[in-house]
Symmetry: C2
Subunit: 374 residues, 2 copies
C-alpha cells in the first residue's frame, strides 16, 4: 500500500464511530454529556508533540509528512478522553499552494516570501491545483484510519478573509495596516482576492471531506479586526460563498460545518443566517445570550478563556461549571434543540500544564452529566 | 512665575471657551456640527512631533517636561480645526509613580523594571503621593493657559484593569497570560491591586481637573481581552468606583467623563448604567444599534477604523460619511438628546499621512453640517 497517496476510501470501509457525541451535538441532537475538544489540542504544550516536532526538523516537515501528522493528531487523545480529533495542519496551506512561499522561522510565526500587495500580484492569484495539497488529504485519510472510529475527525481551513490578511501582510500583524489599506483604497482588488480564496477554500474543504473528514471548521481568526460593515462585506459574504459550495454529506452521512469568527460576537445575529450547523464563540460572548439569539438554529461551540488553564485544577473545574451553566441545560429529548460543544475561546497556549487539560476535560464531562440529572 | 509648579488657577482666570462644541456634545446638547478629535492626535505621524521628541531625547523626557508637553499637545491644533485638545502624556504614569520603574526602549513599547507578580509585590502597592505626578498637573495647567480658550482640554488615565495588565505583564502582551493567571488563580490579589488602582486613578483625574482639565477620559484599552463575567467583575466594577469618586464640576462648570473600553461592544448595555456622560466605541460597533441601546443616556464617541486614513482623501470622506450616517442626524432641538463625537476607534497610526487627517476633519465638519440641513 502506498501510504503517501491513498485512493479515496468509501465511508463504509472505515470502522463505525464509537463516540458520536460531538457529531450529534453539532446536529443539535441530545447527548449524555457535553462533548469537548480544544482548538490546537495537538500542539506545543505536549512534550510528546515537541519530541515528534524535533524529529520532523521543522513545522512544515511535521505538517507535510503523513505519518508525523497522524502521530501528533492522535497524541492528545491518548492523554485525554476528548470527543473529537482535529487534523494537524496549518491554516496557511492554501496560500502556500498558491505559490506564496510559506515558511516558519524558529520562534516566530508564519511568513510568506511573496506577499500579495498590488494589482499585478492579485492578477497572478488562482485557485491552486488541489494536487499541491495532497499531503493534507493524505493526512486526513491516514488519521481517519488510525482513529479507527474512536472519535470523529474534524477538517479545517482559514476563512477567505483570514487567508487574505496573511497573504497581504506577509506575516502576523498587530494593526492589519497593509490589508486594510488595500481594503479601503482598492476594494476591487480585495474582492478579487477574496473570491479566489473562497473558491479555493471550498475546494480544499470538499477534498478533505472526500478524504475522510467527518466535520469541517472555517477559522475566521481575523474577522473580528474588521469594522462593522466591512466585516459583513469582506468576511461574512465570502464565508457564505464557501458554505454554499461545500458538500453536505459524504457516503450518505451528514458533514457538520462549523464557523468560528474570533471577536465576532457583535455580529452573531448576522451569523445566525449562515448555512452551517455550528457557530464557534470566543470568551467575550455570554453563552446564555448567544443561545437566546441563535440557539434555535445553530449548535454553539466554545468558549472558556484558555488562560483559565493556568489556574489550579479546582479553579479550572469551577470556571468550567460557570461556562456550562451559562449555556444552561442542553436539549435532552428527541428531535433537535439547543446544544453546546465545549471548547476554548481560542487555541490552547503552549505554556499550558498538560495535567490542567485533564482537569478541564474531566470537569466538562462530569459537570455536564450532572446538568442532565445524571 | 515658577512654570514647573504653578498654583491652582481658578477657572475664572482662564480665557472663556471659544469653541465649546465638544463639551456641549458630551452633555447631549445640540451643536452645529459633530465635534471631532483623534485619539493620539499629538503623535509620531506629525513631523513636528518627531522634531520635538528628538530635542527632548526620550519619550519620558517629552512627557515630563511642561514646555515640551504643551508644545506637542498644541501641534495638531495648528494643522487641523479639531474641536478638542488632549493632554500629552502616557497611560502608565500612575504605576510609574507607584515605583514600578517605567521606561521606553527605542522602537519598543513601555516596560516596567518591577512588575507586580506575587503577593509580596501586591502588598507593597499603595496609592502614590500625587506630588510624584506633579509634572502631569503642571502640563495640564500650562496647556490650558496656552490653549487660551480655543478648544477644551481633555485629561485622561488608564483604567484600573488596563493599568493592572501592564503592572503584572511588565510590558505589552499578546495573550495576557500573566495577568490572567493572577486573575484566575489569585482573584484576591487582583482585587486588592484593582482597588488601589481605582483610588489612585480617581485621585489622579481629580488633580487633573483641579489643574485645568475640562473633561476626563478613562482608557480601558484592555477591557476587551476579558471573558464575559470577568469583564464586569475585574474591569467595569473598578471603572465604576473611579467614576463614583470623580469631581462632577470645577468652579461651577460641569466636567464631562468619557469611558472607552476597546473591544467592549458586547457589554454596551452594562456600560449604559455607568455614571458618566460619554461612551467611546471602537469600529466593530454599529453606531445605529449603539444609539438605540444607550443614546437615551450617554453621548457616543467614535468610531472610524484608523486604517481608513491610509485610503485616498475621497475614500476617507466617503467612509466618514458612512460613520456619521450610521449614527444618524443628532439631536437638534433644546434640552438633551442623542449626540455624537467623531473620533477614531483607536489611536492614530504613526504611519498616517498628515494630509489625510486634514481630509478626515474637513469631511466630519462638512458632512455633519449637511446632516443638520445646513
Amino acid at each position: 500500500m502506498n501510504v503517501t497517496a491513498p485512493s479515496p476510501t468509501p465511508a463504509s470501509s472505515y470502522a463505525p464511530l464509537q463516540n458520536d457525541t460531538f457529531i450529534r451535538a453539532c446536529l443539535r441532537q441530545a447527548t449524555e454529556h457535553t462533548p469537548v475538544w480544544l482548538m490546537r489540542q495537538a500542539g506545543r504544550y505536549l512534550p510528546e508533540y515537541r519530541a515528534t516536532r524535533a524529529r520532523a526538523g521543522s513545522f512544515m516537515g511535521l505538517a507535510t509528512n503523513t505519518d508525523y501528522a497522524t502521530e501528533v493528531t492522535l497524541q492528545p487523545l491518548e492523554r485525554y478522553p476528548l470527543d473529537a480529533a482535529i487534523l494537524f495542519s496549518d491554516i496557511l496551506t492554501v496560500p502556500d499552494a498558491m505559490g506564496l512561499g510559506l515558511s516558519f522561522a524558529l520562534g516566530e510565526g508564519p511568513r510568506f516570501a511573496h506577499p500579495v500587495r498590488d494589482e499585478a500580484a492579485v492578477a497572478q492569484l488562482a485557485v491552486p491545483d488541489m494536487d499541491r495539497l495532497r499531503y493534507v488529504f493524505d493526512a486526513v485519510t491516514s488519521i481517519r484510519r488510525a482513529l479507527n472510529g474512536r472519535v470523529p475527525l474534524i477538517g479545517f481551513s482559514g476563512s477567505p478573509w483570514t487567508l487574505a490578511c496573511y497573504m497581504v501582510e506577509g506575516a502576523g500583524s498587530d494593526d492589519y495596516r497593509l490589508v486594510k489599506t488595500m481594503l479601503y483604497s482598492r476594494p476591487d482588488l480585495m474582492h478579487r482576492m477574496l473570491q479566489i480564496n473562497a473558491d479555493a477554500v471550498a475546494a480544499y474543504l470538499n477534498a478533505q471531506i472526500e478524504a475522510g473528514a467527518q466535520a469541517v471548521m472555517i477559522f475566521d481568526s481575523w474577522g473580528g479586526v474588521l469594522a462593522d460593515g466591512a466585516f459583513q462585506q469582506f468576511s461574512l459574504a465570502y464565508t457564505t460563498q464557501v458554505l454554499a459550495q461545500l458538500k453536505r454529506s459524504q457516503d450518505g452521512i451528514t458533514i457538520p460545518r462549523i464557523v468560528f469568527t474570533k471577536g465576532g460576537g457583535l455580529w452573531l445575529q448576522a451569523m445566525a443566517e449562515l448555512d452551517c450547523e455550528v457557530l464557534g464563540l470566543d470568551w467575550s460572548v455570554n453563552l446564555a445570550q448567544a443561545r437566546a439569539l441563535v440557539g434555535h438554529s445553530k449548535a454553539l461551540q466554545g468558549n472558556i478563556d484558555p488562560n483559565v488553564l493556568f489556574a489550579q485544577p479546582a479553579q479550572i473545574a469551577s470556571e468550567v461549571g460557570r461556562v456550562l451553566d451559562s449555556f444552561g441545560t442542553p436539549h435532552m429529548g428527541a428531535g433537535r434543540g439547543a446544544t453546546h460543544i465545549f471548547n476554548l475561546g481560542h487555541g490552547i497556549s503552549q505554556h499550558t500544564p498538560p495535567e490542567h487539560v485533564a482537569a478541564l476535560v474531566q470537569a466538562v464531562h462530569s459537570h455536564s452529566r450532572s446538568q442532565r440529572g445524571a
